[in-house]
């Protein structure tokens, strides 16, 4: 399992497990609450509250109601509370330094006078300015306390200090209590005989749109507005299901601050309400419970489901957001303050269940949900989501949520049934259905804001504007009518603001991309001249860049808008940074193309850091690039600073702009436009958006969906496989020997010399090379050799050379060499020759560790002569400006071969891999070869235009001429050796040099193959198509027939052998791997498949696009067959059974 897989699984399975656990808890809570409510109802049936009301044995209760700026309703609210049925009652209203005229209104309404009172400050509080009582004996229960503002907790603490009785009930002053609320509330305290009830909570119900007269609830109505209505369901769910279940477990952690009864003695012992939190209600309960647990005192926190307290719910998003924000902060503060209890068995159920539940499912739930949403969006853009599963899960979750709400409604109907009308019930059900879309996301968002505010140490309560419940307020003033709209608009306004800014930023991003495109085109044209179909190049280039920018803009835009809601500056900084990074990477990719003429793809991921350093070092980073990049960064930063100040879009345009970006992303417009090409390969590459190509390639390489390859039944051209289930590539060897007819037989085993020339392409080598031949020696050599003019390498880079030529091996995922130490045991020309008594040697001027070549060679028993084995007499190639050199020049490497093998007695197979024709094309005596280049152009009768065009690549051509001469010198030198007449020389290119523009896709693989030997009976030229994969099978067939070598009867060769037909044809079907990440090309018959494009190969190896679905399907099917086998390679340790080994 890869680490990405691990993280992905951790996330996805984690979320799944979390969700399932949460749902299980919900179900348990629902089931558990049924029993508790049923029990409560049954017991309550036997309680005659009239008896209680009349009893003088009831304990006294002090109602403590803090009030802050409640002038509008306070007189009526006090009147409502005074009318409560309870014998021993005092009502303490604490005016917490209100800025309005609350106190004056109370004084007037209740004929109050200031009394002298001694307050025993058992809990420290802010200063009490005065205590008032009424002159009217009717209001003898009323005590009004005027104090300095200190917050709700401080006001409650003052109330507790003043309270006469042993129990107190804290109430929000704007709540409407049922007349028998206190009788019902005190009951749990009186019922318990074994344990002490330290607190009791009651259900809070939503009073919006209910009819309230003189502080009494006259008629219960379902709220008309959506928000209060959904809160009605939420409260039913929370109180009737959640808290009842927790009460049964005696695990309740929260009693609403709006209505709760407390044992005053315990509260005082615990220090009263905490003034350091905005969640004082929860914190007090947790602290009281903690106190009881720590002192090992049996206790209970009770909850009664009767609807006793009615309050006004926020009816606009702004107020609701503040409330939920505060609740979240309160929860965090409380849990943090009592973190000691977390999974602490000392606290029993409290520490082991209640606290962890609150932590995981109350505190973390919104965070996990929000993170899940963000990652879901991210995954969506990356294409990770399996939509059928996602939709099914989504439907299940939504249904569960809906089900839970409907169940709560059912419980309400079966128990207290406050909303009598059937219409109301179905209205509630309809409201519940909309909850996940209209309400829940906002609640989650508010909780997230609460978390952020907590981190920012924001500890304000947030103003809770209320419209009022009394009939006087049934027609709200204009301001109140506007409020919900403005509240609703608060979020909307902020989003609109964010969208408007985002639209401007998107335009800047698009402009920046265009600037880079212009810069890229100028540099391309400056470097390589005007490409073919230039107008199309410009057109498609611009379209591609714009579409890419639009496509990717959704990421910064989404994140920008989200951050913008929290902090504008951070949002802007993010967008600018993201854009800069995007553009700089884009410019670097363009620069890479400029150097290599190939767009950089996921092959980058296939190289080790050392390989990358080596390659980048070889190319060097030009001063032009550094200066250009710096200028560009400065320019783009300026654009981002200046333009937003000058450019302001209207809402409509901004929305359209962002919508276009969203649509572009949804429909992946970049993937569509990047298929539009000017035609010629080089022009195609110039117009290609390099960033899109790179990211797309990397993404497909890293996270591409695992293909399910179709099984392809054997065709007449396929091998006779022997055990495909275990060894998918193992087949009987076709013993056809096509080379023997061309060779004379000698007794002594022949030596074999492979010269693999870096970048040697047919485009500039030998007769009919479309760029003209710059290999005069090889041209002449091929005239004396067996020469394949339409020969193909198997890879677009060097990584594929060794496995293809010497093992006819498949690629695995990133090239056979990339398997490294996990390379399966395999057959190769090298190890078979070794078995037949050969000494096999590899000569390389650089570090053989590059591309894991050394691992492959070592596994094949080949001795490596790389740069480390060269003595001081050998001369390295010139270094680049930053001191980098690949190693020793070709001539030196070939000399090294002569030196190392001249005295060898055993037959040898020597492999030379050259380097001089590699970027940066720096060779010794470079000027001399530049001169040769000029001379060669003259010889080739180039006109001036052709010369000018070719001179753009002078160093490349000069290096080719150098390599050609080095081979000439080597051959001349070798001719003097005794073994010359018994040596077979095989010369080919590892791939076609990409630094000279290519004309077609197949050009990248088009290389010559020359087999020269004094043993040859005759020379011959072949027009049939063969590849590197065919060399080993044919050579082994020759050696077996001519010299009776031990050659396995079964092998894993991909190649069937060289085709010696003189005219162009293709009897093979082979895959090709352009880079370490792409196996996108497949050749079969006279067709080439590249991705989804089908081309016909002409006899001069040109490609013509064709539309032939049947043929395409055939190629795709054959390609899929290969890929299916290829995908198994990484898991195998051996490609053949041990029994096959030559004894």
């Amino acid at each position: 399992m890869t680490w990405q897989q691990f993280i992905f699984d951790l996330f996805t399975y984690g979320i799944l497990a979390y969700s399932l656990l949460l749902l299980t808890f919900y179900i348990s809570i629902a089931v558990y609450s049924i029993a508790e409510i049923r029990k409560h109802l049954r017991i309550n049936y036997f309680t005659d509250f009239r008896v209680l009301a009349a009893s003088d044995q009831l304990p006294g209760i002090s109602i403590v109601a803090p009030a802050y700026n409640e002038a509008a309703n306070i007189v009526e609210n006090v009147r409502s509370m005074l009318s409560i049925h309870y014998n021993k009652l005092e009502l303490i209203i604490i005016n917490d330094g209100s800025k309005d005229d609350s106190l004056q209104r109370l004084i007037k309404a209740y004929d109050l006078y200031k009394i002298n009172i001694f307050i025993n400050e058992k809990i420290p509080t802010k200063k009490v300015r005065g205590v008032y009582k009424s002159n009217n004996p009717v209001f003898h229960r009323l005590v009004i306390v005027d104090k300095e503002n200190g917050g709700k907790s401080d006001a409650l603490n003052v109330g507790i200090n003043i309270a006469r009785y042993g129990y107190f009930v804290c109430v929000d002053v704007d709540c409407v209590l049922e007349q028998d609320a206190l009788l019902k509330m005190i009951k749990p305290f009186l019922e318990e005989t074994k344990t002490r009830v330290i607190a009791s909570g009651g259900v809070i119900r939503i009073a919006n749109d209910c009819i309230i007269e003189n502080g009494k609830l006259i008629k219960i109505n379902l709220p008309k507005k959506y928000l209060p209505r959904i809160q009605t369901i939420e409260y039913i769910r929370a109180f009737l299901l959640g808290r009842m279940a927790w009460s049964r477990l005696n695990g309740l952690l929260l009693i609403s601050g709006a209505f709760g009864a407390f044992d005053k003695e315990i509260v005082i012992k615990c220090g009263g309400y905490s003034t350091d939190t905005v969640g004082e209600d929860m914190e007090l309960i947790v602290r009281m419970r903690r106190y009881m647990e720590e002192n090992k005192l049996p206790y209970k926190v009770n909850f009664i489901p009767d609807p006793l307290c009615w309050t006004e719910a926020p009816s606009d998003y702004k107020i609701l957001g503040r409330q939920r924000n505060r609740w979240t902060r309160g929860t965090i503060e409380t849990l943090w303050a009592h973190k000691k209890m977390f999974f602490n068995p000392r606290y029993g159920l409290l520490g082991m269940v209640s606290y962890p539940y609150w932590f995981f499912f109350e505190l973390l739930a919104p965070i996990i949900e929000f993170a899940g949403m963000a990652i879901f969006i991210f995954f969506t853009f990356l294409g990770f989501i399996h939509w059928p599963t996602f939709l099914a899960l989504l439907v299940c979750l939504l249904l569960f949520g809906f089900l839970y709400s409907v169940f709560a409604i059912l419980m309400e109907v079966l128990t207290y049934n406050q909303y009598k009308g059937r219409k109301d019930i179905f209205k509630l059900i309809g409201t519940a259905f909309l909850e996940p879309f209209l309400f829940h996301p906002f609640v989650v968002w508010s909780a997230i804001r609460g978390n952020i505010d907590y981190l920012r140490k924001k500890n304000t309560w947030g103003e809770m504007t209320r419209l009022g419940l009394s009939p006087n307020h049934s027609q709200p003033p204009v301001a109140a009518i506007i409020k919900p709209l403005s509240g609703h608009g608060w979020l909307l306004q902020k989003i609109i603001h964010a969208v408007k800014e985002a639209a401007v930023y998107v335009v800047i991003l698009l402009s920046s991309m265009l600037l880079v495109k212009i810069y890229e085109l100028i540099r391309d044209v400056g470097h390589f001249g005007v490409p073919k179909n230039f107008s199309d190049v410009i057109k498609f280039g611009i379209i591609n860049d714009l579409s890419f920018a639009l496509n990717i803009a959704i990421i910064p835009v989404t994140i920008f808008i989200l951050i913008f809601l929290l902090n504008k500056k951070i949002a802007r900084f993010f967008f600018v940074t993201f854009s800069l990074l995007l553009i700089v990477i884009h410019a670097a990719l363009a620069e890479y193309f400029l150097e290599t003429l190939v767009p950089l793809g996921a092959d980058l991921l296939g190289y080790s850091l050392a390989d990358i350093k080596q390659t980048v070092g070889a190319a060097g980073i030009s001063m032009t690039f550094i200066l250009s990049a710096a200028t560009m960064v400065a320019l783009i930063i300026s654009l981002f600073i200046i333009i937003p100040k000058k450019l302001k879009f209207n809402v409509r345009f901004s929305v359209v702009m962002i919508s276009v970006s969203v649509l572009a992303s949804i429909f992946s417009i970049a993937s569509i436009t990047n298929k539009w090409k000017p035609g010629q390969e080089f022009s195609n590459n110039i117009s290609l958006n390099k960033s899109y190509y790179f990211y797309n390639s990397c993404f497909r390489s890293l996270y591409g969906r695992k293909e399910k390859y179709l099984f392809v039944p054997a065709t007449e051209t396929a091998f006779e496989y022997v055990d495909e289930a275990h060894y998918p590539f193992l087949h009987k060897v076709d013993s056809t020997d096509v080379l023997s007819p061309f060779f004379n037989k000698k007794e002594a085993k022949p030596n074999i010399v492979f010269i693999v020339v870096e970048g040697l392409g047919r485009a500039f080598s030998n007769k009919d090379a479309y760029l003209g031949s710059f290999t005069p020696y090889l041209d002449s050599l091929s005239g004396k050799s067996l020469y394949w003019s339409n020969f193909l390498s198997s890879g677009g880079r060097t990584f594929a050379m060794l496995p293809s030529i010497f093992g006819s091996l498949p690629f695995s995922k990133n090239g056979f060499l990339e398997l490294g130490d996990q390379m399966p045991k395999h057959l190769s020309l090298l190890n078979i020759l070794k078995e037949n008594g050969y000494s096999t040697n590899f000569f390389y001027g650089g570090d053989a560790g590059f591309d894991n070549m050394d691992k492959f060679l070592t596994a094949n028993g080949t001795k490596i002569y790389d740069e480390k084995t060269f003595s001081a007499n050998y001369k390295k190639m010139p270094a680049t400006s930053n001191g980098f050199t690949w190693g020793y020049a070709d001539a030196e490497v070939l000399n090294r071969l002569n030196e190392a093998t001249a005295e060898m007695k055993t037959p040898t197979c020597n492999v030379v891999m050259t380097l001089s024709t590699h970027n940066p094309f720096l060779i010794n005596d470079q000027d001399k070869y530049r001169g040769f280049f000029e001379q060669r152009m003259k010889t080739l009768n180039f006109n001036e235009a052709e010369k000018t065009e070719h001179r753009r690549y002078t160093d490349q051509y000069a290096s080719i001429l150098y390599a050609d001469e080095a081979i000439r010198n080597f051959m001349n030198s070798y001719a003097s050796r005794d073994d010359f007449n018994n040596t077979i020389f095989i010369v080919t290119g590892d791939h076609r040099m990409p630094e000279i523009p290519m004309s077609t896709k197949i050009d990248r693989y088009h290389v010559p193959l020359i087999i020269y030997s004094p043993l040859l009976k005759r020379s011959e030229s072949f027009g049939a198509l063969s590849t590197h994969m065919d060399i080993t099978p044919s050579l082994l067939a020759l050696l077996k027939h001519q010299y009776n070598y031990k050659v396995p009867t079964m092998a894993t060769w991909l190649g069937k052998g060289l085709d010696t037909a003189r005219s162009f044809r293709n009897i093979h079907s082979y895959p090709f791997m352009q880079t370490k990440s792409d196996i996108e090309d497949y050749v079969m018959d006279e067709y080439m498949l590249h991705g989804d494009e089908l081309f016909k190969i002409s006899d001069n190896m040109n490609l013509d696009p064709v539309t032939d679905d049947k043929k395409k399907a055939m190629l795709k099917s054959a390609f899929a067959g290969f890929m299916q086998k290829n995908s198994t390679l990484a898991k195998t340790t051996s490609m053949f059974p041990d029994s096959l080994l030559i004894k």
């Binding site: 001694f118 009186l190 005989t193 099914a392 089900l403 059937r422 991921l605 890293l702």
Partner: protein, 361 residues
């Protein structure tokens, strides 16, 4: 690098389809229940309205019935009485009517209850295994004065289920008044404060024949029995328990001591104040405050010196309580406090001002 296998969530679609199907079935069931329940409830309410019409006549007839008259049960009622739901309704209506009536009318309603053989229904409930039905049966038999079932009911006064136990205790008292309190002799479970209120309410207006039972209960090992007995003794003014109650001041249970103090406050003896003061230093703050408060009612000038010492107690609450009682016992009243040298200092200043205020009111 290997491609990520992102297919983990590609659970067989059929699993989800089944899950969705199950959700939909449950959802439909919930809808059905909600709809069915609302329809059922409406129908029951409608039926009850109709039954009320029919039953109201019979109940009215029964209330004013003389010994010579008999209750005329209509055929419609007879037919309806075959339905258990109607029989339950009739019982509830009779109980409701009975609670609002007194005198001979109640006997007529009991008679009607017996004529309709509803006592059999209640007795059946008494034997139900479901505690709330059992409790309902007990309640009905108790309210309907069905003494013939008292043995069964008495046995339930010690039932493990609290509600059954409570209803049985209430019913026994309903049937036998103070004599019914014999269950206190054997009460194994604590009697909750709520139940004590219920029992006290049932015994309101009744007088015990003697106080022998009380003496025994005040020594009960069940603390709630002692507390209840103290409350009851206080409420019915049982004078001859004074010594037994004073002994209760030595209990370890605060609740017992507080209730004993209440009794002493209400029915003081010769040296009650001295006795309670003697307990002052051996008790906690709550009891101390209760003693200081009680002195206001039963104290004399003898306790002034004790109360004066409290003005210098460390605890401000004790200071305040002491000062309050002092203001009641001292011949100079609240003015005495003002004469003190520290009267202008905190916290005495505020304490004294508050007392002055209170006394003035």
């Amino acid at each position: 690098m290997q491609a990520l296998n992102l297919t983990f969530l590609q659970i067989d679609t059929i699993v989800f389809i089944r899950a969705i199907y199950i959700f939909l079935v449950i959802l439909s069931a919930l809808f059905g229940i909600i709809l069915g329940f609302t329809i059922y409830k409406r129908r029951i309410e409608k039926n009850k309205k109709a039954w009320h019409q029919s039953l109201a006549g019979i109940i009215s007839q029964a209330i004013v019935l003389t010994e010579e008259e008999t209750i005329n049960i209509t055929d419609e009622i007879k037919k309806l009485l075959k339905k258990s739901i109607f029989r339950r309704y009739v019982i509830d209506e009779l109980i409701h009517a009975l609670k609002n009536l007194s005198g001979a009318s109640t006997l007529n309603l009991v008679h009607l209850y017996e004529i309709l053989e509803l006592n059999i229904d209640s007795f059946k409930k008494l034997h139900s295994k479901r505690w709330h039905i059992k409790a309902k049966g007990i309640q009905e038999l108790g309210i309907m004065n069905q003494k013939k079932y008292s043995r069964e009911i008495f046995r339930l006064t010690n039932h493990p289920n609290e509600l059954v136990r409570n209803e049985a205790q209430c019913s026994i008292i309903s049937l036998y008044g103070f004599s019914g309190l014999r269950f206190l002799n054997v009460a194994a479970y604590p009697i909750s404060k709520l139940q004590q209120i219920e029992l006290l309410n049932k015994l309101k207006g009744l007088k015990p024949k003697n106080s022998e039972g009380f003496k025994k209960w005040l020594q009960s090992s069940n603390e709630s029995v002692v507390i209840f007995s103290l409350k009851l003794a206080t409420s019915v003014n049982l004078h001859n328990l004074y010594d037994n109650v004073v002994n209760c001041l030595q209990s370890n249970c605060l609740e017992i001591k507080l209730n004993a103090l209440e009794y002493i406050k209400k029915i003081p003896g010769e040296n009650s104040a001295g006795i309670i003061v003697s307990h002052y230093f051996f008790n906690n703050k709550i009891f101390r405050l209760a003693i200081i408060d009680a002195l206001r009612d039963i104290g004399s000038e003898n306790e002034i010196s004790f109360l004066l010492s409290l003005l210098h107690d460390e605890d401000d609450e004790i200071k305040a309580a002491g000062a309050k009682s002092l203001s009641w016992l001292h011949p100079l009243g609240a003015d005495f406090l003002q004469a003190h040298s520290f009267a202008d200092q905190d916290p005495w200043k505020n304490i004294f001002l508050e007392i002055k205020n209170e006394r003035a009111a």
